[in-house]
């Protein structure tokens, strides 16, 4: 812990931090989290609490975003579908885009804004008010008690929220398709299940969601731990965490898409 934590405090300051150095810091933090979990130091009660905070409380925003995302995809596709009479392909088109790309990406950005920023602010405040030092003074490892539970909760939340958002986005797309284009939901469903889409498409999106979860959790924890300079420092850390998380999500999206494809 101390290597990752003190290193982070010393070196990490802003989103302009040298990318290689930042990657090194994030790797050290990931190793510290892995060690805490492997050695059974994960605080299970804090994990459940974090899961509630990050997962359950994110549901309303995920539901709202997912339903409208599905609808937006149909609205955008409507002119082409109408022009070529490709109503039977609407389910496939919406499913392909949602499962592989839009579902995991938009869910990640929503979770980054809601959970990641909150995580950085909370950890940053704890650092500047010496609450993390107080934990260490009580011989309690902050990684096992605070960081690992939050990390696992964010990754788990993103995986489950993506699955949930995928389903809701397709429901939204089906109903907007019916309202806007007159495509029967049964036809939409057939398009989804006709064989053009498979488990691979769902898995593609879920792999991305796990990678995005790791990026968001690591960067939000890292910048929280790196906070210095009181309230303005907390603001700077939140800003850096949000920027790095979003950039990291898009970067990883490209490479994961490339690798899996």
């Amino acid at each position: 812990m101390s290597d990752a934590e003190s290193g982070a405090r010393d070196e990490a300051r802003s989103a302009s931090e040298a990318p290689l150095r930042l990657a090194g810091r994030l790797a050290l933090l990931l190793a510290a989290i892995g060690r805490a979990v492997a050695e059974g130091e994960l605080d299970r009660r804090m994990f459940v609490k974090s899961l509630y905070e990050t997962g359950v409380r994110s549901l309303p925003i995920v539901v709202l975003t997912a339903l409208f995302t599905g609808g937006i995809m149909v609205v955008q596709a409507a002119p082409i579908v109408e022009r070529y009479g490709a109503h039977g392909l609407l389910g496939w088109g919406a499913g392909f885009g949602t499962l592989r790309e839009i579902g995991p990406l938009l869910t990640a950005l929503m979770i980054s804004g809601r959970v990641g920023a909150n995580n950085t602010a909370e950890l940053g405040t704890m650092v500047v008010t010496e609450q993390l030092d107080a934990l260490r003074a009580l011989a309690i490892d902050p990684v096992g008690f605070l960081i690992a539970p939050r990390f696992l909760a964010i990754v788990t939340t993103l995986l489950l929220a993506t699955l949930f958002a995928d389903a809701l986005a397709l429901v939204g797309a089906a109903y907007v398709g019916a309202a806007l284009l007159g495509v029967d939901p049964a036809v939409f469903y057939t398009g989804l299940t006709s064989g053009l889409l498979g488990f691979g498409d769902v898995a593609h999106g879920l792999v991305k969601s796990v990678v995005f979860g790791v990026v968001i959790a690591l960067s939000s924890c890292h910048y929280g731990l790196a906070t210095t300079g009181g309230a303005p420092g907390v603001g700077r850390s939140v800003n850096a965490a949000v920027v790095v998380s979003a950039a990291g999500v898009f970067l990883c999206d490209f490479f994961v898409s490339f690798l899996i494809a």
């Binding site: 812990m1 003074a137 011989a139």
Partner: protein, 248 residues
């Protein structure tokens, strides 16, 4: 016994501690005094490994703390509690949960009920039991500090390091904290090392006083030694005079 041997520490170009050497005898109440910025807080943070010396050694009985890694320091921190200058309570937990946390994490209690009972007893010791279910944001600074002391005592430490325990407290609560430190020492055999510039506390309960000035030990002695000292720096500090040889 806590021993500081030739401890030096610099931050950038500024020397905070310069070959500081003294012992903290077992069971006694020792005060480290000096002007703000004299390095008092930095000094006591060396004992629990929060600050590492650039040179010198810190010993806790027969253990050289300054050589220990972060993991080995956990056993030192169970024996040697640190009460921070600010209360550092966990905002998301009630007073009871704050005090129960170290008991839970270190298995001091078989059941949740037993742990909560012990936590309540610790809060009662600092007259905070009626506020057990309150959150830190609902408490005044003095109350928070008393809860922080209760939490620090949860693991029955042999040593307690207090960083300005009475700063920000009203006189009544300040004397209550003094009495608590005294009780811990006289009845519990706890060794206390207190950083303070509260003259009432210093001359009220100290067995031994170490004065730091410009990073070096200026005088070690009993309260009487300090009262009778001819050293102009010591006299100015003890009398709380605005004019004198001490730097602003």
């Amino acid at each position: 016994m806590i021993s500081f041997r030739e401890v030096s520490k610099r931050f950038g170009t500024r020397t905070v501690l310069d070959r500081v050497t003294f012992d903290v005898p077992r069971g006694a109440i020792s005060f480290v005094i000096g002007a703000s910025g004299a390095g008092k807080s930095v000094l006591i943070k060396h004992v629990t490994g929060f600050v590492r010396p650039d040179a010198g050694e810190i010993w806790l009985d027969d253990l050289e703390v300054s050589r220990l890694g972060e993991r080995e320091l956990a056993s030192v921190r169970k024996r040697c509690a640190l009460v921070f200058q600010h209360a550092t309570l966990f905002d998301s937990q009630s007073c009871l949960e704050n005090v129960a946390l170290p008991l839970e994490k270190h298995g001091r209690g078989r059941t949740g009920a037993e742990i909560r009972a012990r936590a309540r007893a610790l809060l009662a010791r600092v007259h905070m039991e009626p506020f057990a279910d309150r959150y830190p944001s609902e408490l005044g600074e003095g109350m928070k500090k008393r809860v922080a002391i209760a939490r620090a005592l949860a693991l029955d430490p042999e040593y307690v390091l207090f960083d300005e325990p009475t700063t920000g407290l009203d006189p009544v609560n300040a004397r209550r904290v003094d009495r608590l430190i005294q009780t811990l020492s006289r009845e519990g055999g706890v060794t206390s090392l207190v950083v303070s510039h509260d003259l009432t506390s210093i001359f009220g309960i100290a067995d031994r006083i170490v004065m730091l000035y410009k990073g070096r030990v200026r005088l070690i002695g009993t309260p009487d030694d300090f009262r009778q000292s001819d050293d102009p720096v010591v006299r100015q500090f003890v009398r709380g005079e605005a004019e004198g040889p001490m730097d602003a």
